[in-house]
Symmetry: D2
Subunit: 454 residues, 4 copies
């Protein structure tokens, strides 16, 4: 049995390529399917089955694209009513070479979630791994809010039952293969470690230390963000996304062509690190550094053109592929030669202020009047924040501009300075002027031993 | 000015990527256009123009595919009546960054051939290179037989005039960038060296040492092969080939699925080296070693499936891409795990005999009766061949089987043993039984100092 | 916590790169350490510790080489008396970022074997994985014969105790990371699957289904090969192997230079597949196909030059690196342009006969007198072999030539035809003439439903 | 004949790999010789000769390193008295496969300069290319100042004679292969284009449009920079540089280890783009952006440790290799995780001011008192500069600090803003405080149509 875990960075999505003999299966393929085709080709394998764990909300699933190249059959759970592929029954069995796959209906995250228990018959008759989708993560479990408040209790109960009645009984020794890793919007407490077992989760996953009642209560009450692009993902994954073919290709254009795009209303994303953005950027751009591309899901349009400023030519591919995974097929051009070509044309640039924690501390101590904006999640905020800071999650800032003052300086901070740069760029776009992004974020503030509250 | 020469191995085709400032042009792009997209991307360049030198016969041109991704404008000569792109005027000028391109009408190979003289204005006002298409090669000049016998004189005269009136006057110092390198079916005497100048050709190209009359006479009389797949290339390049998208993907299948393909009449190509093929192959297969894939153009069908045996998994990509360049979009599957998986299933194999020159010599000396078949070109044959050998060019063997004896052993040879293996496999397919491929070919025979005639 | 498993193909050796925060550790590094340096570089990590599980016999350990580049500290067990690095105490603890490593003394395979239990403190206080070296494999356990017959009982008891008292108590949920995968000479029953847990082994590892007495008896009695090159590995790994630096570089030479090497007594290895070797090879060469390079450990010299014939230029690197891992720093040259350049020079070649199972069956049925030589391991032989076949393990054939007949045809077979080709080439080197390698091996014989005995 | 041009970016050095049959030669190899080994390996070639055109001043030559791996013989000219390799005679001939190389003594740049004329005997008896070293560039010719003022006339005359008596007579049609391309300190007017011919140079090279007297006068008078690291290159290239082996490997360290380096006096190079550096950098660092690493030759020490801040992890290799080519074997560490890890530790950072041309213009118009520092070359300065700007070439600023005012703002500019950022960082290191780097440099100022003088 051959096993590969494939990670899609930006959306922290994990897919699995599992093979035996000359046959292979893929669980939850990403949209750019070259990686699976290459694995199959390098080892002379035939991809026979594609299994989906559930209708994903946060990325485009590549099942149909992969099936196009390989003829593989697609299988998914009983909900929703997919427009492609085959519906599974609980307990349905498959054979791939010398391995047996059992499809387990594990509702909770959605009513249609499936898990796949894999037994390697070469070594024995006990399952060795289980693909748990969004049912069980390493250190967390799936969110249960996509059905709306009225379904939340039912779904949360289902989730508990699925974990305790379907997954854990497989045995402590079974590896778990979840659909998301650390950094996903589908589970905020997911560990950085990417391998675990049912036993390790039983012993250490914080949610599995709770009673049934506590678990369900927590699941009903926990807060999650619903990024606007989810809507499109739901539609794409229900019906099948448009065919992508060759990896997305983005035109390079010169400063004057770039300006023309801007004059025609294109949305501008600048993926450079915050300090570079701060030193000089084009008015109206969003700062979405490469490390946080997923933030684009909060603000980018689907129909109108999006254009890019990148720090390195080599980032273009990564940005294009990442946004294609989020269904953005409208990234049309990037500025050739980085922003230096813009500078050299003497075209207008604007700075964005950066402030060190030390300077901010001094200013606060001197009694200056600041609006402190903490753009982390509620959980992060509650774990320790600057005194008097107001918490609005980064993605929600565009909808809550009214509450922010234009008559005094705003210091924006997050954990390390990246999300706060995104937010600062949003504020600048919206006419706020005295915006200061705090270098190093709350991490730096705490390291400097400055006071904060919980 | 930036300059890249791109070589498509199997068809020995050369294309050119030339850029200045932030703009680029491509001359005669290959069908799999990723290489140009990557060059543009890595250097932040915008591909603005695609220039075709002529309607190619031996490979699929990628102009439309490249234009799809880049929006580049396509230009070509006045003949034939292309169904896409723009028609050029002799002397038409283009600007790419700081370079100037002049389109020169240089008919001869076809009535529509264009050359492109490039001047780097950064360094001065003299042209620095000229893309000569199939008009002038390094060591050779274009063939003039595609218009049929009735046009041959006129086209040959045109070719002479184009070289002497349009190209050479540009100056000895000008680099030439032809459309083909050594190994092309478009010129049998093309040198291995890939850089030259008009001056070097004027001094050393054998054709340019002839008088006008001699040149034209030679061009009218010289013999060329017309591979069957040319017909399709002409059609594709007139109308635009089907869109290819992602690089061709070929399924790996297991021995039983592979056998099913064969039972349904698929054409089988075995790309292993001749000795491996000789030691054991599947009945009915063509031996077309990786180094000689272009021979496939003589025998492969366009509509029905073709399937592959490869020596190394890593050859699959190369074979697929090479055949896609020749318009074969029907390579459907390859045997997973090389032929060993076939052996292990105890499925039937056949040997093909190899004979060393030493053993053949001994047998001939002993008076045994052999039919000696020389499958090289007429020119090669005439430059030295085994006594009593009959010359039939490899590609033509399928149409001349009647002249070959079934009642005595046939020794097949070429230059090194590759084309002769291809021919041997054809003979075996057609019921000939006593076929012997000579190891090391004529090269080996001569090295062994065995007698031969001219 | 970041985790990478690195596989060294030919010796089926597994090493591990584990990191947390900005620090990393490597367990049992291979000799060509670029892979670890790249992992560290790509993620901005500092390699702080190198842990060896034991004094290896089958490959050169890269600890000193890796420490040279990184300054990492090397740790190993209390036996033998290593000439470099630091000696560990049972239970000694280390901290790497946010993980804790506990060194466990797990003697058995040797008296100095160590295992390393890793706890990811980010997720909890239970160990999540254990590097088990040659103590516990997936589906097998370490061999206990390296101390000689007098130590075998004691070492086997130790092994049992180490597994039951040190490893299994860590918990069913703990991943195991052994030092070898399938194909290793260190454990013939190791599964192809490369991930498992203590629980899965407890449930399914055949050795862990035995009683203490059965386990120890089996360990004392099981047969293992001791490849001659082990001697050098033991010395290298005790003292530290010579510094390798840049990856090994092997000269390409032309046929005449190659012949000179041969005339001076160089050992010739031909890594082409058996059928190609059979069709024509240079007299005196060993056939060691790329897939079975480790067989070279049985016959290659350490001091005198070894030279290569490869099927593909691209194999040279793989062969060079693989043999460097086995301590062969004397691979000096390969024939440029594959064996075709040799053929073209009309230099002498010899065939090696291949026989299909069908032809062999016919001949046997016709009463012809064959010596059937089965060169698989004793275990493979006993699981089913041709009637009247004599079993000599491939590696031992050079020492048992006296028992083989020169007066009748010998059919050599293994599982698929590769080891038997190695043996056939040994027999040809030693003056045997009527040698026939069976295509597809026992696998093919069984698939053809021909009779065999157990 | 096979031909490859290899470019070493930072020092704009060009080397050549030329092969025929199974043999190859390399002209002026770079220090990291893997590229030549790979070319040889991929095509089954044996590197037989290494030719040096002259004792280089600006990069470490890799002849001895390459000879170590290949056994190739090294040849160079009669001056200076090299401690390795063989001395050539004018007119000495070599054979590589089917090509002939003639060594031509072409003194001028130094008394020992050699050129190598290459004839491809396969196509005829005229030379097809000539490696011209530092004698003739595309658009320029070698500098003649390394012998000091007293030798300058003689060397300049020699240079003229070498070009007119040795090179041009080879014929207009001959390709030239110089040792440097655009961006080299060895010729400020070298064209961006990398292919040319003797004829094209005769027609367009500005120096070849001059009379003998004008040429020699210009060569005697032209000004060149002598970067401090040249001294070490001269020594290394006379005696042979230290063996490098595996590519240079640089440790990643965490912020606290990094700070320790700084506290112990390490020199800090920050290779990020100027705006990022401006937004926040560590006090005392040099800003040497990746695109201008060669500036390091002016200020970096050879003995004491140098440490790095990079914008992208992936830059580390490029920086390490580039500085190794300049002989800096003392790059010891880089900050893991880019400067963000420094920010997060709340360690101190300093900004460097950037000013747009628009803001500077406004301020000047308002009568504010600025010191305008133009750090381009004298030639660039004279071709157009800001009114009242003082010209000090970037590399010379450290030696001319006394002339700069500490009591008023200094605006530093170059062509695009990179060298000026380097200079700004030098000034900050030296206690200047009111330093402003002009974004987009003189290019931007001119595009904005602001006034300037020549």
């Amino acid at each position: 049995m051959i096993f590969h875990r494939i990670k899609s960075d930006v959306v922290a999505h994990l897919s699995y390529f599992i093979a035996s003999g000359s046959e292979a299966m893929v669980v939850d393929p990403q949209r750019d399917v070259g990686v699976y085709l290459d694995l199959a080709k390098d080892q002379g394998l035939h991809i026979k089955y594609i299994f989906e764990t559930h209708r994903n909300e946060d990325y485009v699933i590549g099942s149909r694209e992969l099936s196009h190249y390989t003829g593989a059959e697609i299988y998914h759970g009983p909900w929703p009513d997919f427009k492609y592929g085959n519906k599974l029954k609980d307990g349905q069995l498959f054979k791939i070479g010398n391995i047996r796959v059992e499809a387990l209906h594990t509702p909770g995250h959605t009513p249609g979630d499936m898990s796949y228990a894999v037994t390697d018959l070469e070594t024995g008759d006990h399952p060795v791994l289980v693909c748990t989708g969004d049912t069980l993560f390493i250190g967390d479990a799936g969110r249960t809010d996509f059905g709306g408040p009225e379904k939340r209790k039912e779904w949360s109960e289902n989730l508990y039952n699925s974990i305790y009645e379907k997954l854990l009984p497989l045995g402590d020794h079974v590896l778990i293969c979840p659909a998301h890793g650390s950094g996903s919007v589908c589970g905020s407490k997911i560990a950085e470690r990417e391998t675990s077992t049912l036993g390790a989760e039983r012993l250490m996953n914080p949610l599995l230390q709770l009673s049934r009642e506590e678990f369900i209560k927590l699941k009903i009450e926990e807060e999650h963000q619903y990024t606007p692009y989810f809507k499109r993902m739901e539609k794409f994954n229900l019906e099948g996304a448009p065919f992508m073919g060759l990896n997305p290709y983005i035109q390079s254009v010169n400063p004057h062509e770039f300006k023309e795009y801007l004059d025609n209303g294109a949305t501008l994303v600048d993926t450079r690190p915050p300090p570079a953005f701060g030193a000089g950027h084009i008015e109206g751009s969003y700062n979405i550094p490469v490390a946080r591309l997923a933030m684009g899901g909060w603000v980018l349009p689907y129909e109108d053109p999006v254009i890019l400023i990148v720090g390195n030519q080599s980032d273009v591919d990564h940005v294009a592929r990442s946004y294609a995974r989020m269904g953005f097929d409208n990234i049309e051009a990037y500025l050739a030669g980085t922003i230096v070509t813009w500078y050299k044309e003497a075209l207008p640039v604007k700075p964005m202020r950066m402030i060190t924690p030390h300077d901010l501390k001094k200013s606060l101590d001197a009694g200056e009047d600041w609006f402190l904006l903490d753009v982390r999640t509620k959980e992060e905020y509650e774990s320790g924040h600057m005194r008097n800071a107001v918490n609005i999650y980064a993605g929600l800032v565009p909808t809550k501009l009214d509450g922010l003052p234009k008559d005094k300086p705003i210091a924006v901070y997050c954990k390390s300075g990246t999300r706060s740069s995104f937010v600062s760029s949003i504020l600048l776009r919206n006419g706020f002027e005295n915006i200061n992004n705090m270098l190093g974020g709350m991490t730096s503030w705490i390291k400097a031993k400055y006071p904060y509250t919980k």
